[in-house]
């Protein structure tokens, strides 16, 4: 059971396995010590079960994409799951047909060898399996049709813009697109000579005969082309976006095992880079594209350029032009941690200036004895919106909570803005000082008004005391009855700040607070879909005018239900919207302070 035309396919498979294996081993070796320990500890733990379930759900069924758009989900699923089943059922077919064993390519070229090889015998349900194989091929072809449609008209698949691929990706895609039609034609040609195959293949065979083509002449050529298409695709796979097919499986496994990426890229980032299928879903939702029409700086292009070492300078530019709103991360069907990768690139770009110098003033800031008090950290941005900090002081007093306004006079940055620019060492100096101040003060809890600081305190500080954003804190005071407010008739539209919502998952507390003082309106894009306010420390590439365009889009969404007031929980969002001068913009703390009921 051999013919020379199977060689391209076999060579492709060998190349694919060899290269992928080499890459994977190299990447796993470059995992950090901590990551390797995490993997070893969890290698056979119960965590593997949810991992397997997610692999099945995401790698084969593409569930997250389906939730966004049914047709797009169908396209991805039919190609992934359809091809997977085609291979599995094909192997079952070959297994049943060759009781004496068979070479591995027999399943792929089964219809060619079926009438020719004496090792293939008649078996039970052979006709049903052939029909099933045809159904599966049809399933894959329907997905292929949608993929082609998406290329010319992406709207029905829920995508405005699609990814611009590089040359190797395009060649690989072309070979992938050729595989299934060629398989159908080759099997059809064989069928018109020998009459084997299921309903579809037989029908194609009759069509070939009917249009007067000599099946005997073209059959061999078609099988050669089919094998060549497969061989080309498999050989190119490790060097193109199609590497995601296997890599996503590994990525899910590592992620479920609890592997976390640090500030320096390790093997984990390599897996993430290759797990990106370059589907381009991130492009449509990025505010830089939506509002400014800059469509070459999204996550997909960031990962693409990082993978190509020659384009490093371009990767730096792309990483810099980002609002850090994390919307892409919510949309990414693979769940790639784009924020961390972006920070790694920024960090790499800023290595020369990332030196902990110029922080002598920290020595002059002294800790305070705040035993039994709440430490209140306004944050630099709240210093620019004194309405928020004075409202918070009013609330602490009304609730009878002793507090220490720790950054009132000598404020130290929480470090996150530096971290967002990749200045890891400088950020660490500030964090160390703040951590020391908080620990030595003896405060019982830390409340902050700025979601940026909040995310920093929660994720980067490892404090031993509880950290709360003021929305959560006010919510807690209201629930416990320590704070009383009167309900008014104010119609309020709430803007979810990205650092608080997508960053820390706090969506409900602010809504509960606002619901108790006024009427909370629903907006079209809220919670995880909240739009960027445009005023972000993260992006230093766009102009103020461009920031205002991004802001106006978010403002339009908030103004749509015709509110009296826009509420937010972030000093940056507040400043951004207040500058537009449309309607009053208030922080939740200010709204609560205005409607306090004094006992």
């Amino acid at each position: 059971m051999f013919d020379i035309f199977v060689l391209p396919f076999c060579a492709g498979v060998v190349a694919l396995l060899a290269v992928s294996l080499m890459k994977y081993i190299r990447w796993i070796n470059s995992f950090s010590k901590r990551q390797q320990i995490t993997i070893r500890r969890n290698i056979l733990s119960i965590k593997i079960l949810p991992a397997i379930w997610e692999m099945f759900r995401e790698c084969l069924l593409h569930w997250r994409i389906t939730q966004r758009n049914l047709l797009l989900g169908y396209m991805h699923r039919s190609l992934a799951f359809g091809w997977f089943l085609l291979i599995v059922v094909g192997f079952v077919q070959a297994l049943m047909a060759c009781p004496g064993g068979h070479p591995f390519y027999a399943a792929i070229f089964f219809n060619y060898f079926e009438p020719r090889s004496e090792r293939i015998v008649e078996f039970a349900h052979s006709q049903q399996i052939a029909t099933l194989m045809d159904v599966l091929l049809l399933y894959v072809l329907s997905g292929l049709f949608l993929a082609m449609l998406k290329k010319v008209w992406s709207k029905p698949l829920g995508m405005k813009r699609t990814t611009k691929h590089n040359l190797t990706d395009r060649i690989a895609k072309f070979s992938l697109w050729c595989i299934f039609p060629l398989r159908l034609l080759a099997e059809g040609a064989t069928s018109s000579i020998y009459g084997n195959g299921g309903f579809l293949v037989r029908w194609v065979g009759t069509v070939i005969a009917a249009i007067g083509l000599d099946s005997a002449e073209i059959e061999y050529l078609l099988w050669v082309l089919y094998s060549l298409a497969l061989g080309t695709f498999f050989t190119l796979m490790p060097f193109t976006r199609y590497m995601h097919i296997f890599t996503e499986v590994f990525l899910i496994y590592f992620r479920k095992n609890g592997v976390i990426e640090g500030n320096k890229p390790s093997g984990y980032t390599k897996f993430e880079l290759s797990a990106c299928s370059r589907c381009g879903i991130c492009i449509d939702h990025c505010p830089v594209n939506r509002e400014l029409g800059i469509s070459n700086t999204q996550g997909v292009y960031l990962l693409q350029t990082i993978r190509n070492k020659d384009l490093w300078h371009r990767a730096e530019q792309i990483a810099a032009n980002c609002m850090v709103c994390d919307r892409c991360q919510v949309e990414c069907p693979v769940g790639i941690d784009l924020a961390t990768i972006r920070r790694q690139v920024r960090s790499e770009a800023h290595t020369a200036i990332d030196k902990p110098v110029g922080y002598n003033y920290l020595e002059r800031v002294h800790p305070f004895n705040a035993i039994g008090r709440i430490a209140y950290f306004g944050g630099c941005m709240s210093h620019l919106t004194p309405g928020i900090t004075s409202a918070m002081e009013q609330i602490f007093k009304a609730a009878g909570q002793p507090y220490w306004y720790m950054d009132k006079e000598q404020s130290i940055c929480c470090g996150r803005p530096l971290l967002q620019q990749g200045l890891v060492k400088q950020a660490e100096v500030l964090r160390r000082k703040n951590r020391d101040m908080i620990t030595r003060s003896g405060a019982t809890m830390l409340v902050t008004s700025c979601p940026i600081c909040y995310q920093s305190f929660v994720k980067e500080y490892q404090l031993s005391i509880k950290v709360m954003h003021h929305t959560e804190y006010i919510d807690m005071l209201l629930r416990s009855g320590k704070l009383k407010v009167k309900a008014g008739s104010e119609r309020i539209a709430y803007h979810d700040p990205c650092e608080l919502g997508r960053g820390c998952g706090i969506y409900q507390a602010p809504r509960d607070v606002l619901g108790s003082v006024g009427t909370l309106l629903k907006t079209k894009e809220e919670r995880a879909n909240s739009l960027c306010c445009g005023y972000n420390l993260g992006n230093i590439s766009i102009s103020t005018d461009q920031q205002q365009l991004v802001r106006d889009a978010a403002l339009g969404n908030l103004l749509a239900p015709n509110p009296d007031t826009i509420a937010t929980a972030c000093p940056m969002c507040k400043r951004s919207f207040a500058r537009a001068n449309a309607i009053p913009v208030k922080d939740i703390a200010e709204i609560v302070a205005d409607s306090l009921v004094q006992d």
Partner: protein, 341 residues
Amino acid sequence: MKTIAVIGAGPAGIEAASVMARQGCKVDLYEKQEEPLCNIRDKALLFPNFEKADTIAEALLQKLRHENISLISGHEVQQLERNKGKESSWTVDGRQYDAVILASGYTPFDAHRKEELGYGIYAGVHTSLDMERMLREGRIVNSIGDKPRRVVFLQCVGSRDEKTGNHYCSKLCCVTAVKQAIEVSKMLPDTEVYIFYMDLRMWGQHFEELYRSAQEVYGVKFVRGRISEAAGTYDGRVQIKAEDTLLGLPLRITTDLLVLMVGMEASDGTRKLSQMCGICGEYGFVQSSDPHLNDNSTLAPNLLAAGACKRPMTLTDAINDGRSAACEILCSYSLPLVFNS
């Protein structure tokens, strides 16, 4: 007899109405407020010659006393549109006119929009208009009613500011701050007076001399740098953070009064009416048809614009611009120009 509507009884509107009335036109002068000249009446003395604002206001009101002028005050114009059928004439809230002069003016920048400067939050933070009111009353006090030991003026609040979207210069805040600083120094010789600026634009006649005397005679201290934030202190004063960009040093000083020199923005009426007629230009101001040759006419025929509804303008320029718009109309109707002796 030609009938003309003038919208806005400020200096430009009054001057235009007065010129046209004297030349034999029937003028209806619309004013949103109950009284004309609101933006002059709240001022004390005017730059550069420290003339009383009330004197100018009186002189302008005198010009209004003409049989051809009817002042329709307390009336905000809602509809301004071309007559159907006769496209070159206009209807203002149902009344027909041969031509319209838009003189709907400016509005001071709302300092609440620069929250970092603490206006409306800390008692010691005021705008230049608040300062003018204090100067009118002749009583400058800090938040607890005492004589201030230090007064800081901050230039360019809401002008030349990308972040508020106002890229333009409001032209008269520089000299106003110098004028107010001199007045404060005259009234309270022991008080330290600072002016924080980006650069001082002393473009008009006598402005430079005023600036020089502020330094040499009155000892006003000029610091080049913007104030980034203000914070309240426990004793009701204001602590400001800034950078002295000439010395390249960060600066933190405490002051009794922080005076924000607010810029000029297109008034709500200017925005509304110019959008209604399709003559709205940058920043909501009215767009004239040519900045050199036809600065009073607009793209709409027989609809002219005068004064600060076009751009920030001083009182002198606004009066001149009103007169110029009136001449434009008179010339187009070939009415005789009669020179009163």
